[in-house]
C-alpha cells in the first residue's frame, strides 16, 4: 500500500485545526475549574460509623432501662463513650447541638430500633460485637483515637460479662 503523502493544503488545514484546538484549550484553561470534593478522611468516616453504632446502642439501652433501671449505669457509660467520640470529630462535622441521647440515633440496619422489649441477650450480643470490632477499627487511626477505641472496647467487654450475671 502506498503511503499517503501530506499535501501543502493538508498541512495548512491541519495547522488551522491545531490552532483552533489550542484556542479552545486556552479558553478552557481560563475558566474556573470545578472544585473536586475532598476525599473523605477515613478516620472521620470511621468515627461517624462508630458514633452511629453507639447511638443505636444507647437507643437500645434507653428502652431496656425503662423496664430495668439496673441497666442505667450501662447507659450512662455508653453516653460517656458517645460524648468522647463526638469530641474527636472535626468542628465542621460536629452537629451544632448534639445531645447525648438516642434522639440523634441513626436508624438501625436490621431492626435495631424496632419497638418492643429489649432483652439482655440482645444487649449482650450488641456489646460483644462492638467489643470484637474495636481491635480492627483502631488499626489505622491516630494514636489518641486508637486509645479511646481500645478503652471503649474494654468497657464493652466488661459489659458483656456483667450482662451475664444478675444485676
Amino acid at each position: 500500500m502506498r503511503p499517503r503523502r501530506l499535501t501543502r493544503r493538508a498541512l495548512i488545514r491541519g495547522g488551522a485545526m491545531g490552532a483552533a484546538v489550542a484556542a479552545m484549550a486556552g479558553c478552557a484553561a481560563n475558566e474556573p475549574e470545578p472544585v473536586a470534593p475532598a476525599p473523605p478522611d477515613p478516620q472521620v468516616e470511621l468515627l461517624r460509623q462508630v458514633i452511629a453504632g453507639k447511638e443505636r446502642t444507647i437507643a437500645l439501652y434507653e428502652r431496656a432501662a425503662a423496664d430495668e433501671p439496673a441497666l442505667l449505669p450501662f447507659l450512662e457509660r455508653h453516653k460517656v463513650h458517645l460524648a468522647e467520640l463526638r469530641r474527636r470529630l472535626p468542628p465542621a462535622t460536629t452537629p451544632a447541638t448534639a445531645p447525648v441521647t438516642a434522639q440523634t440515633a441513626s436508624p438501625a440496619p436490621s431492626g435495631g430500633a424496632s419497638p418492643g422489649k429489649v432483652s439482655r441477650t440482645r444487649l449482650r450480643d450488641t456489646e460483644r460485637k462492638a467489643a470484637a470490632a474495636r481491635p480492627k477499627q483502631l488499626q489505622s487511626v491516630s494514636p489518641p483515637l486508637a486509645q479511646l477505641l481500645a478503652s471503649i472496647g474494654a468497657c464493652e467487654a466488661a459489659h458483656v460479662q456483667a450482662l451475664s450475671r444478675p444485676l
Binding site: 449505669p73 450512662e76 457509660r77 460517656v80 463513650h81 468522647e84 467489643a131 474495636r134 481491635p135 480492627k136 483502631l138 488499626q139 489505622s140 494514636p143 489518641p144 486508637a146 486509645q147 479511646l148 477505641l149 481500645a150 478503652s151 471503649i152 472496647g153 474494654a154 468497657c155 467487654a157 466488661a158 459489659h159 458483656v160 460479662q161 456483667a162 450475671r165
Partner: protein
C-alpha cells in the same frame, strides 16, 4: 546538613525505639503481674483460686507473646526480676483479690500506652489484652469504669518497681505492678 534519606532513617529508628520501649514496658508489667498472681493465688481458695490461677496463666501467655513480638522486631526481651515492690503483700484472701484488681488496673494502663504505637499487630494485641484485663478485674470486683485506663476509678498507682527482696506486708501502697 540532613538529607531526606537521613531524616527518614532517623524517624524510622526513633519509631522503632519507641515501639520497643513500649513493648518492653508491657513485658515488665506482665512479669510483675505473674509475680503478683503467684503470691495471690496461694492466699485464696475455691472460685477465687480458680480465677487467680486462670489470670496467672493468662498473664504468662501474654508475657510469652510479648517476648515473641520483641524478638521479631529486633529487640531483646527483659527478664523477670527476682521480686517486685507491690502495693500490698497479700496475707488474706481479700488482700489477694485487692492486689489482683490493682494488677489488672496497672496492666490495663500499660496496654493503653501500647495501643498508641504505630504497629498494627501490636495495637491489636494491646487492645485485646486490655479487654481481658478489664474483664478479669470485673470478675474479681464487679465495678466498671466507662473508659478503663483513660479515667482510672481510683487514684493511679505508681508503676511496679523490681526489688531484690520482698516488701513487708505493711509497706505503704505506693506502687502497683503493671507499670
Amino acid at each position: 546538613m540532613s538529607t531526606v534519606s537521613t531524616v527518614s532513617a532517623t524517624t524510622t529508628v526513633s519509631a522503632r525505639d519507641a515501639l520497643l520501649a513500649a513493648l518492653l514496658k508491657a513485658l515488665a508489667a506482665e512479669h510483675a503481674a505473674v509475680y503478683a498472681y503467684s503470691l495471690g493465688a496461694a492466699r485464696v481458695e475455691g472460685r477465687q483460686r480458680s480465677l487467680l490461677t486462670a489470670a496467672h496463666a493468662a498473664h504468662r501467655n501474654r508475657r510469652d507473646q510479648l517476648r515473641t513480638l520483641i524478638n521479631g522486631r529486633g529487640g531483646t526481651p527483659v527478664e523477670a526480676e527476682p521480686s517486685y515492690t507491690l502495693p500490698l503483700r497479700p496475707g488474706t484472701s481479700a488482700e489477694a483479690v485487692r492486689l489482683a484488681t490493682l494488677v489488672e488496673e496497672g496492666v490495663t494502663a500499660v496496654y493503653l500506652e501500647l495501643v498508641a504505637v504505630d504497629d498494627g499487630p501490636v495495637r491489636r494485641l494491646a487492645a485485646l489484652a486490655m479487654q481481658e484485663s478489664v474483664t478479669r478485674s470485673y470478675g474479681l470486683r464487679p465495678e466498671i469504669t466507662a473508659l478503663p485506663g483513660l479515667r482510672p476509678a481510683t487514684p493511679s498507682p505508681a508503676p511496679a518497681t523490681p526489688t531484690t527482696q520482698a516488701t513487708p506486708a505493711d509497706a505503704p501502697a505506693s506502687a502497683a505492678p503493671g507499670g
